[in-house]
């Protein structure tokens, strides 16, 4: 693995989590596929998030991703572990997210989930990307072609429950009802997905 990748030393052999500073390197979907490949696996699902050229009907030139990397890696690892618990002990999961100033077309996030069968691969991958979007301490600042920049509206993190409240010991929980706005795919806020 490249030295510019910050690998979570606590991850088990089925999980790889990375934060990649765009100044040092780029996300590598081939590495994600390679990591989750296994002779026991018949299915691999990959989600690639990519910076797109418009938001709120305005033309974008790029996105700056800010991140609290230590906690983000914990969220990546915990959500990957929860997905593996839910969708099969033989599954493998790879999570990588970029930080820094990305241009249109750059890759922001790569998730890969490999498992013996396709249904678990699709569902595991979906669960992990949703957790990355809603639970990881990551913020995007959109830069528009007119020179303006705006931080995206987001999803409030919740510290109301004890860290050991979930079966998998996830440090960050998101299991209770919310009344805030979720910036779902398909809304104008998102640049990819």
């Amino acid at each position: 693995m490249d030295t510019n990748l910050q690998q979570d030393a606590l991850a088990d052999a089925r999980i790889a989590c990375h934060v990649v500073d765009i100044a040092d390197g780029r996300l590598d979907p081939a590495a994600a596929i390679e990591f989750v490949s296994d002779d026991a696996h018949g299915g691999i699902d990959v989600f690639i998030g990519r910076v797109r050229a418009s938001s709120h009907g305005r033309e974008c030139v790029g996105i700056h991703y800010d991140m609290f990397a230590p906690l983000a890696l914990t969220v990546f690892r915990d959500t990957a572990a929860a997905a593996i618990t839910r969708f099969g002990p033989k599954a493998k999961c790879y999570v990588a997210h970029a930080k820094g100033k990305l241009a249109v077309g750059d890759l922001a996030v790569v998730i890969a989930f490999g498992s013996p069968h396709r249904d678990e691969a699709f569902r595991g991958c979906r669960e992990v990307i949703e957790a990355v979007k809603h639970q990881a301490p990551i913020w995007k600042q959109e830069h528009f072609i007119d020179g303006h920049s705006e931080w995206s509206e987001g999803c409030s993190l919740c510290g109301h429950e004890p860290a050991d409240a979930t079966a998998d010991g996830a440090a960050v929980t998101h299991s209770h009802a919310h009344d805030h706005h979720h910036d779902e795919d398909g809304h104008a806020h998102h640049h990819h997905g």
């Binding site: 998030g49 991703y65 800010d66 991140m67 609290f68 230590p70 906690l71 983000a72 914990t74 997210h97 922001a108 996030v109 990307i129 990355v132 979007k133 809603h134 639970q135 990881a136 301490p137 990551i138 913020w139 995007k140 600042q141 931080w151 995206s152 509206e153 987001g154 999803c155 409030s156 993190l157 919740c158 510290g159 109301h160 429950e161 004890p162 860290a163 440090a171 960050v172 805030h180 910036d183 806020h189 998102h190 990819h192 997905g193």
Partner: protein, 86 residues
């Protein structure tokens, strides 16, 4: 209590530095920190409104903190506004 507060996302617009050192006396819990920090920010950050802090989580490098959590002994906290990754 002497604290080092890391700033992310929208909070970065209030400070050129990514973290600030504060001495907020008489506080020991996260809830007390919220109240004290809100007062400090209102006095020092032009344009600050309490809504951003209310929508934000407070965390260490390993976990989110609850309102009744004790502040960490090392005094290092992170202010996490609503997230928008992916």
């Amino acid at each position: 209590m002497k604290l080092t507060v890391q700033l992310f996302g929208r909070f970065r617009e209030f400070s050129a530095a990514p973290e600030i050192a504060l001495d907020l006396p008489g506080i020991s819990t996260v809830a007390e920190f919220r109240a004290a920090f809100d007062a400090w920010a209102g006095a020092h950050w032009p344009g600050y409104t309490p809504g951003l802090l209310k929508a934000s989580a407070i965390a260490t490098e390993s976990t989110l903190l609850r309102a009744d959590s004790a502040l960490p002994a090392d005094g290092r906290l992170a202010l996490l506004p609503p997230v928008s990754g992916g």
